[in-house]
Symmetry: C2
Subunit: 225 residues, 2 copies
Amino acid sequence: MSRNIAIIGGTGAEGFGLGLRFACAGAQIRIGSRDAEKAHAAAGRIREIVPHADVTGGLNTDAVANSGIAILTVPLTAQIATLKSVRANFHPGSILVDATVPLEAAIGGSPMRPMTMFYGSAAQQAARNVPDGVPVVAAFHSLSADLLADLDQPIDSDILICGDKPEPKLSVRDLIKMLPGARPVDAGPLENARMVENLTALLISLNIRKKARHAGVRITGLEPE
Amino acid sequence: MSRNIAIIGGTGAEGFGLGLRFACAGAQIRIGSRDAEKAHAAAGRIREIVPHADVTGGLNTDAVANSGIAILTVPLTAQIATLKSVRANFHPGSILVDATVPLEAAIGGSPMRPMTMFYGSAAQQAARNVPDGVPVVAAFHSLSADLLADLDQPIDSDILICGDKPEPKLSVRDLIKMLPGARPVDAGPLENARMVENLTALLISLNIRKKARHAGVRITGLEPE
């Protein structure tokens, strides 16, 4: 079940890129969207790029209902509304992975500046908007959509994972290990997501300032897990 | 002049470690303290470890007056008072490098949680407490005192630099390049220091959670400068 992944907002650049990479790696992907036609089209584009891809497209609600792990990749401005729209479709065993980065761009400002959420982080905001018992894990922030879309470009980045329950974090860790070059690093409880989200704003800032497209991050000095 | 470095608070673990590493690298180091005797003793300890070290110890005020670059390495609770105490000793050409990390530990809480400063970052707080015309550069946050003190341990970390003026940042970049393994990365204006300070809280959290001592950070995907 853990390799059965819904991408909520999978027609956006970040979600499409994650779907593409996971399809490459052999996961079963359900691209979700508010618009089923757009989701079908995105799934078709992935199959064109990755002929062996096990990918379908449909409504976000169906994608969540039929997957073990749902990765939320919508912009901050759509995060709460999207979670409300799929709230009834989570089921026992569902895990929500939140990749939302709260940037000032959401309110017409700069993508290089993070915003502070009332609950501390976008991930904690997500946790307030899922049914009780659905664990939220924050992850995938540090992979840019540009990087994900360019299959010739290796992933050279750690992926920091925050969450309050061990088992869902282990499931997400296993997912991350499917992506060559990506290393999962447990970064503590969900409340630590604010620091990971901030770090992503810094990476975006480096991408923009240095005209790079694929800035990532490696934590050095850790023992192998 | 740029290799003539004052370490304000150089008897503390972080300052001592930086002084030790820079002395190793051939810089002229002035260990500063409120207590001249303690500074003399710290300089002596560096000379014991590094016989060729060009290092002296004295009051913070004298260290700042006689150096081109002053690195501030005191705890957050001492940052403002220390800057006030050396305010009159900056001179034309002085650069202040702030390495302060605003952690909840400063108010009896956890070293794994950052605090938000009124001006956005400890570095911007430093800038409010130096004379007009003294540029502030934020740097060195990501090097732990433990790592710095252990000369057998290579530095395997980027050092993110934030500041508003190009020349002082270039001077700090040149300093960083003296330390084998350390790579300077320009992370934008001083206001970005809040993200770098947050990242340091995350590294401290990883050190504590993973029983590591030397967690550092590398930014991947950047073109060589």
